[in-house]
Symmetry: C2
Subunit: 509 residues, 2 copies
Amino acid sequence: MIIKIFAIFCITSYAKAIQPISEENEYFKINFVYAINDINVNSTNSISMDYSGLNSTTKINSNENDCKISPELSDEINKYKSEVEKIIKYVLSGDFKGKTFDLLAELTDTFGARMTGSKELESSIEWLKKKSEEENLENVHSEYFKAPHWVRNNESLYLVRPRRQKMSLLGLGSSVGTPNDGIWAEAFVVTNFQQLEDNPLKAKGKIVVYNPTWTSYSEMVKYRAHGASKAAKVGAIASLVSSVTPFSIYSPHTGWQMYDKTIHKIPTASITKEDAQMLQRFQDRGETCILHLHMGAQNFPEVTVRNLVSEVTGRDIPEEVVVVSGHLDSWDVGVGAMDDGGGSIISWLAPVILRKLELKPRRTIRTVLFSGEEQGLHGGKAYFDLHSKSNEKFQILLESDSGTFNPFGLSFSGNNEAQCLMKEVLSLFDSLNTTKLVMPMEGGPDIIFWEKAGIPTGALLNSNDDYFFYHHSEGDTMTVEDRESLDKCTAFWTALAYILGEFNVTIPR
Amino acid sequence: MIIKIFAIFCITSYAKAIQPISEENEYFKINFVYAINDINVNSTNSISMDYSGLNSTTKINSNENDCKISPELSDEINKYKSEVEKIIKYVLSGDFKGKTFDLLAELTDTFGARMTGSKELESSIEWLKKKSEEENLENVHSEYFKAPHWVRNNESLYLVRPRRQKMSLLGLGSSVGTPNDGIWAEAFVVTNFQQLEDNPLKAKGKIVVYNPTWTSYSEMVKYRAHGASKAAKVGAIASLVSSVTPFSIYSPHTGWQMYDKTIHKIPTASITKEDAQMLQRFQDRGETCILHLHMGAQNFPEVTVRNLVSEVTGRDIPEEVVVVSGHLDSWDVGVGAMDDGGGSIISWLAPVILRKLELKPRRTIRTVLFSGEEQGLHGGKAYFDLHSKSNEKFQILLESDSGTFNPFGLSFSGNNEAQCLMKEVLSLFDSLNTTKLVMPMEGGPDIIFWEKAGIPTGALLNSNDDYFFYHHSEGDTMTVEDRESLDKCTAFWTALAYILGEFNVTIPR
């Protein structure tokens, strides 16, 4: 049976879709809208994507037909066409062809996963810092801040009755561990919070298993984010959640979760949708399932981490800045090639390529590689806190954090006038097929603080329909990346940053 | 980049696609042709299937336009339309709606994986035997034979240099284990056998890693089947092979392998395509990878296992038999819902449903649930050896072992006259959309002995394009199965068996 569902995409951390509970995370409440994508999913596992529905509900500027760009501005924009083509040629078929893939592969192969608080993240930052210096980038430095430090350690889950089976799991970020010998308890499966609240006695003393039917990321992720505290509130001693993905090959997907401060903390982990469905069937047949859950997870004191900054300083108005960014930190599974190694590398390469092509725009082109994103946008918040009150003037902030698959344009937040301007700019990219402009900006979690403050922001649009197949799982590796698509992303990102840096005008706000 | 590749499908064990080495497996040399399917795969992981190319190279009977069915025979076939519709209605929208899924789920949930030699397989056979008796099936019995007995035990693989990373693996069936503390050695990656043979000194003392570019199952599976002995021949101390799948979420896929009797045995396992590609990249960059492989695998003396037989005995000519079959044994990962729980259950249900509908055809309708398939068609061979010289006359043997997704017809081996007859029979199934007839039979590994002997054989055609995503992996679970498709498979299988059992004529041979 084919059923119609909606799936949010362009989201890489729970922080981007949930209503936070704790006060410290007040800034998560920033209201931002995601692209919604029509997907056909049959009742079990198969999925077929409808490309035609991509961004179907994204609000396009209603004034797009009323755009009036002055002839002077239009002429100015059009004169950048030769630089755009020069950059595209260099990256797609010149000396730089294939180098984005190779660099991303070297990063992820050499350091693997880059969890905030890990030595791997520190080493990878140091490695890119050294490369920045070797490439003669300017103002190369780290900006330090504090972030949560959670470590998974060993973990295991067994079905022990009605039969013994090892089950895959991934503990959720910030979860407490279990006692050393684990927790042995009956499973109580629910498909939604209402079922839990309606059956508090059935949940008491049990391991609550959330088995929601996939509809969308935003609908599913609430069980991951808030499931533990909701279960603890009715007396459960642990909770498990079906992984937030429309498709699985027995693959668990981790992610951050948030305890309600008023409720005692219980261990919580993700399991595969295969196992969640199996536990549901056992329960529906009246059979009791006993689980043995062990998690060695630990929450340590906050750790000092850093964003990495490097730039080509503006030749004319260096205090005006175009930011290109991604987050270098990843989860501790897979190697974070997609989330967000790809976005980090294409952003890091923008000033590198400008330097190689001896293009030094009027404004500063600055790469910021955030950390602490997966724990709740800590690097993005720290960057905003440090720079929003400085003397710098931000022309625009760009982030790529929803995949670096085949690019097709930009999502953007800015006023009507700014939208018209960006539309004209993107028209230069017809040879790359990256001319699409949609509003608002989505897929740039670390720059939402700027968006809220009214500064123009943009994020890469790309063909990321399979994004959640790999998201926060062992499947986030170089195997999902494509050499040619990465070249296109780098070319687009670099040329876009160049034009916005060179422009005679400030993007209206 | 989109490249054109070919993929064999409808194959569930290596035995169906490789040229065997050892003499004991002489019978594997039976020459049978598979449907070839056009698939578009980009250079990394994404895959898009071309349904229009399904079975594109399968030889359709060239005489199909010359089919001359006698009016009498055509009339007879058409008179079964009401029984066909009765069966379809009962299974798709009557009392039996959804029961195939429920029974398959109960089988796989209750017993899990059903490896030949395991108590789980024995228990599941006993469970279905009891159910056969409860359903008043006739001639319910087991037929015993010997099969290899291989046990995986604990196994692990680590990259220990240039960095430490736990890697997923699945030891290959019949592999020897490693010493207790494992094997520590450098990896030597090759993409084909020629590279190995050209570089014997580089392989000596190493763990050879096969990283072929996916083209088709038949091309890839030779590295799994013969990789160990080829590597041992040039002095390697173990071998690893990229999993035989076009798509992966860091999922290893197991399967049987065969040692060359003249070469000493070395341990061998499958790894994920993600890790095989990573090891390749390390090597291409000139970096040395050290691996630590531990496998506790053991080969025990042959074990006595059994095929399970049950039937509705023919009311008129009981010695003439229509066989409907699948193999109940599975690999020891996942739960074998697809390979081949689904085929087993729809075959087991055919006589059950006939009984419930009080349809007792002239010939015997016999379910055979084979065992020992994954180790090399041992149950199929035993059945042929026992029955091919008996007084029984086999009208046709049907097997379903290439998935029970949405069915669309039958692959068939038989002479031209038989093909014409089958074409006419399938025309009764327009309401189910299972009217397609392709030649030769494919997806019926246990009945190829009969095919070779000139007896008509058929296998279920179904929309199994994703088959190898899950094949022999932890992903082979109920989650890939679809309730409605299973109903359609059961209805088709039952009604087809009924007609072929009731027929006034013997299928020509």
